[in-house]
Symmetry: C2
C-alpha cells in the first residue's frame, strides 16, 4: 500500500503554482500579491495512479487543487472496498471545509491517473480569509455550492435503483445537446471505479451494461459506449 510520503515527487515551480492557484474559483478577484503570498507557501506534487494523496481521519496537508489528471474521493469500507463520493478532475479542488475548521480529512483521496496537484497549506488560507473579504465571500460561495451538490448527490443516490443511477450517469456524460439521437461517450474511469462511484459492485455494473446492450439502448467496446436511444435511456433514469 502506498504511503502519503511515497505519493509522488514534489516541487516548487513558482510560476506554475501561481498559474494553478490563480485559476481556482476560490481566488477569483483576489489581488495578485495575496495570490503570490499563498503560492510562495504552496507546493506542486506529482502522483502516479493509485497514490494515496490524503487519508481519511488524518490531518489534511492543505487544500488540494488538481492541475491535471484525475483523483477520487472515497469512503473506505471494510475489506478494501470503498464508496466513491466523487471524482476530482483538472481545475477542481478539495479540502476547503476540513482545512478551514482544522478537522481531519473526511475521505481518502487517491490518484486514478498520473496527476499534478497543488497543495496549499492551511494557515495562509485561514489568514487570508480573515484579511480579504473578497476571498471570504468566495469561500462562502464555494462551500454553499459544495453543500448543495452533495445534497443533490444524496438525492440522486437514495431511493433509485442501480439501473436508474447508471442510466443517469451515462446520460450526464453524453453531449449536452439533446438533438443528437445517438452519441459516443468515453468512460473517464475503469468500470470498476464507475461501480464504486455508483455504489455497486463491478459484477452488477457488468450485468446492467449487458442489459442495456440487450435492450438495444447502447453499444459497447471497452470504455467506449455509444448511446443508441437517448430518450429511452433518460426514461430509465426517470
Amino acid at each position: 500500500m502506498a504511503s502519503i510520503y511515497s505519493a509522488g515527487s514534489a516541487g516548487r515551480d513558482e510560476r506554475l503554482l501561481q498559474g494553478v492557484i490563480a485559476s481556482m474559483p476560490m481566488f477569483r478577484d483576489v489581488d495578485r500579491p495575496s495570490i503570490g503570498l499563498i503560492a510562495s507557501q504552496a507546493r506542486i506534487q506529482h502522483c502516479r495512479p493509485g497514490a494515496l494523496i490524503a487519508r481519511q481521519g488524518e490531518p489534511l496537508p492543505g487544500v488540494i487543487a488538481v492541475a491535471y489528471g484525475l483523483a477520487k474521493l472515497a469512503l473506505p469500507r471494510r475489506r478494501g472496498e470503498e464508496k466513491v463520493l466523487r471524482f476530482l478532475g483538472a481545475n477542481e479542488s478539495f479540502g476547503e471545509a476540513a482545512a478551514l475548521l482544522d478537522r481531519p480529512c473526511p475521505v481518502d483521496v487517491v490518484a486514478l491517473t498520473d496527476a499534478m496537484l497543488a497543495v496549499i497549506p492551511v494557515r495562509p488560507l485561514q489568514q487570508l480569509k480573515e484579511r480579504d473579504s473578497r476571498f471570504a465571500n468566495n469561500l462562502v460561495r464555494i462551500l454553499a455550492e459544495g453543500l448543495l451538490s452533495l445534497m443533490a448527490e444524496v438525492d440522486a443516490n437514495s431511493g433509485r435503483s442501480s439501473a436508474q443511477r447508471l442510466a443517469a450517469y451515462l446520460d450526464s456524460l453524453a453531449d449536452p445537446r439533446p438533438g443528437s439521437v445517438t452519441c459516443a461517450i468515453l468512460l473517464p474511469v475503469t468500470k470498476t471505479a464507475l461501480a464504486a462511484r455508483l455504489g455497486v459492485t463491478k459484477e452488477t455494473i457488468s450485468r446492467l451494461l449487458r442489459n442495456l446492450r440487450e435492450q438495444g439502448l447502447i453499444e459497447m467496446t471497452q470504455r467506449k459506449i455509444t448511446i443508441l436511444d437517448r430518450v429511452r435511456l433518460a426514461g430509465i433514469a426517470s
Copy 2:
C-alpha cells in the same frame, strides 16, 4: 395536503425575533444594530404537526430557524415516501446555502410537532454578508461544518446494514456517560419517522427492534427504550 400558505400563523413580535435571531450561531458576535435590522425584516411562524414549511424545488422564503419544536428535512420519493436527511430541533437553522446562492430549496421541510420558527428573508442576509466580515466568517464556519457533517452522514449510511445504523442511532441517543450499563432513552420521533431517518421502512424498523429485544439488548415500551447491554449494542454498530 397542507400548502405553504396554510402552514401556520405568522407574527412579528420584535423582542421574540431579536432573541431567537441573536442566539443563532450565524449571528455570534454580530453587533446589535445589525441584528436589529435583520430582525425587523424577519417574521415568526407557528406550525402544526405535518405543516409544509418549504417545498423541494421552490424558492426558499428565507433562512429558517427553529425556536422550539421539531421539523424534518426530507427528500421526497415516489408514492408519498421520503428519505429524511436530518431532524431540525430548537436553535438549529436551515437554508443558508440555498438562500445565499438564490437556489431553490433542496429538500422538503415539514414540521413534526407544534413548532415556532423564525423566517429570515434572503436579501438582508446577503447584504449583511457583504458588509460584516464577522458574519461572513460565521457563514464560512457554519457552511463548512454543514458540509463535513453531511459527509459524516453519508459515511455512516453507506455500506452499513440497517441493523448497524439503528444500533448506532440508539447509541447516539444514549447518555454520553459510558459508565452506565443500562440506560433509558426516549425516541424524539415516531418509529415511522425514525425509519425514514434511517432509510428503511417502518416494517423493517419493527423487525429490527424485535430482534434487539429478543437478544436481550433492549426493552421497549412504545417510544421509551431501555438499553440493557450498551457494549453489545455498540458492538453491533461496529
